[in-house]
């Protein structure tokens, strides 16, 4: 018997287990999946929890429910990966593998920024990238009387890069509906040169910030948080005061990656951008947020990656060359508040385009344009996630590689430095 081991039972790991089990002979391949946690969270839901749009039950389920019955599920902490010996050490147990899939994701590392975990953490400083953080922020917002709200990105790359912008838009709607928008000053603080950094998006979307009265501070690379004066300070000494700081801390791959010597300085694993094979070891494959590929760290990307990776694992075990297929395809809904959303479709080299999705000219969803239908698409996605995506069921009419049919590329960008 041969062993295929999957590390991590999040979005990517669960999808891989579901894709591979029916395709690998039961009498030839054992599949084992390891995750230390019992609960599988619908992470896109963390954006909605603070605003009371979703409740706790809508964003979590027991992870094992989504793992096929012929896959062995081990709920234990992963201690170390030893690639030279094709072994993974767990708490009190060692697994041997012939093929390893690493899907350990990424998470916030607030300890990387001086002062972030100071006395104001979870009092006036919050994250919404964890279940606990998102819930704590909900409690804070329910009773908050207003003041200066900063929505802040520490550094790129982050999981779901548009979530902080969506948070700003939803905050605008939330405070408006509570009749206290005039008491809240919202500022979006980014280390990049703007809220929208790609020319097509700058052109199409810059109005959103103005329309919602959201201020912006660009090129801000945080050096530390001053808990006494309630300010964030960058490397040039620029200070931005806050009453409530909603921050996206540095995102890093799992510490087991660092401990095993497999990652870069952020514990992301060097991975071939088109085949998803790890660069250092030919029998190790990497998927989702754990890779260092320059695609967005998002569930839709993991979904498209999973289709290519499934083919490549089958090719690899039969000794065939791998497909250089994955193109960085991402397809994401972006909430813009007031029950509207945008939909974007892009890949490694193509900027988000205008047009219709998934059918050329027909849609029904519009790309790069606000619509109520896109908002319902985003909400419907939660059902698709639990019932189709995790189970590895292909989403009809949405292909793994980006399609160029019916899309408009000749958008004249505005000047943007």
């Amino acid at each position: 018997m041969k062993n295929l081991v999957i590390l991590g039972a999040g979005t990517s790991g669960t999808m891989m287990a579901n894709h591979l089990r029916p395709k690998l002979y039961l009498n030839k391949w054992n599949i084992t999946i390891v995750d230390q946690f019992k609960t599988h969270y619908y992470q896109p839901g963390f954006l909605f929890l603070p605003f009371d749009i979703y409740n706790e039950d809508q964003v979590k389920k027991v992870g094992k429910k989504f793992i096929p019955k012929d896959v062995k599920y081990i709920q234990k902490k992963i201690e170390k990966i030893i690639p030279e010996e094709n072994k993974v050490e767990l708490e009190g147990e060692t697994l041997k593998y012939d093929v390893l899939i690493i899907a350990t994701g990424c998470k916030i590392a607030p300890e990387e920024t001086n002062g972030l975990l100071g006395p104001l953490w979870k009092k006036d400083i919050f994250d919404f990238y964890t279940y606990e953080g998102s819930l704590a922020l909900r409690e804070k917002l329910r009773g908050w009387q207003g003041g200066k709200l900063l929505v802040h990105i520490t550094e790129m790359p982050i999981k779901c890069p548009v979530a902080p912008l969506e948070f700003s838009f939803l905050a605008d709607t939330y405070f408006r509906e509570k009749g206290m928008r005039d008491k809240v000053d919202i500022t979006y603080v980014t280390p990049l040169s703007g809220a929208f950094t790609k020319p097509t998006c700058t052109t199409a979307l810059n109005y959103l910030l103005q329309e919602k009265g959201i201020k912006i501070e660009t090129d801000f690379a945080i050096e530390h948080v001053d808990n006494d004066t309630k300010e964030i300070i960058d490397y040039e000494g620029r200070k931005i005061p806050f009453d409530l700081l909603v921050t996206i801390p540095t995102n890093m791959g799992d510490e087991v990656i660092g401990k095993s010597g497999l990652g870069d300085d952020l514990n992301f694993i060097p991975t071939d951008v088109n085949t998803l094979q790890s660069k250092a070891h030919e029998n190790i494959f990497v998927i989702g947020d754990a890779t260092n590929v320059p695609a967005s760290k998002a569930g839709s990307v993991a979904h498209f990656e999973a289709e290519t990776l499934t083919d490549n694992i089958l090719l690899y075990i039969d000794g065939f060359p791998l497909k250089k297929e994955f193109d960085g395809h991402a397809n994401c809904f972006i909430e813009t508040g007031n029950n509207k959303a945008l939909l974007i479709d892009f890949n490694y080299v193509t900027e988000p385009v205008h047009g219709k999705f998934p059918f050329a000219k027909v849609g029904p969803l519009s790309l790069l344009k606000e619509s109520v239908l896109n908002h319902w698409g985003k909400l419907a996605f939660r059902w698709i996630y639990w019932n189709m995506l995790l189970k590895g069921i292909a989403i009809p009419f949405v292909s793994r590689n980006m399609s160029f049919k019916g899309k408009v590329f000749d958008i004249k960008p505005e000047k943007n430095n």
Partner: protein
């Protein structure tokens, strides 16, 4: 996309002046772009620029933090070399794509 003559060479540039093709880059082009940004390039600047180009060729994502850990400069020094926009200005001078998010 537009064509611009920088240091006597016709290069393809984006709307905001970043080189479209990093292989069209040379040191003279770097110096001229830097001049527009009021930066006088020193050897230290070029060490950073070469590091950024190497990482880009290796298809690795660039962060201020990774430059800070490169052993060439720390983040404060990076800011001193490229004030106001360390990564975006150094990228522009290095002839590599502008650091962007997904939108």
């Amino acid at each position: 996309m537009a064509v611009k003559t920088i240091a006597g060479v016709e290069v393809k540039v984006t709307e905001d002046g970043y080189l479209e093709d990093m292989t069209q880059w040379n040191k003279e082009i770097a110096k001229e772009i830097a001049k527009e940004l009021n930066i006088d390039l020193t050897d230290k600047h070029f060490e950073v620029i070469n590091y950024l180009r190497d990482r880009t060729i290796a298809k690795e994502a660039l962060t201020i933090r990774s430059v800070g850990k490169s052993g060439i400069v720390d983040i404060k020094q990076l800011y001193e070399l490229f004030p106001k926009g360390p990564l975006k200005f150094s990228s522009k001078i290095a002839g590599i794509p502008k650091p962007t998010s997904c939108i």
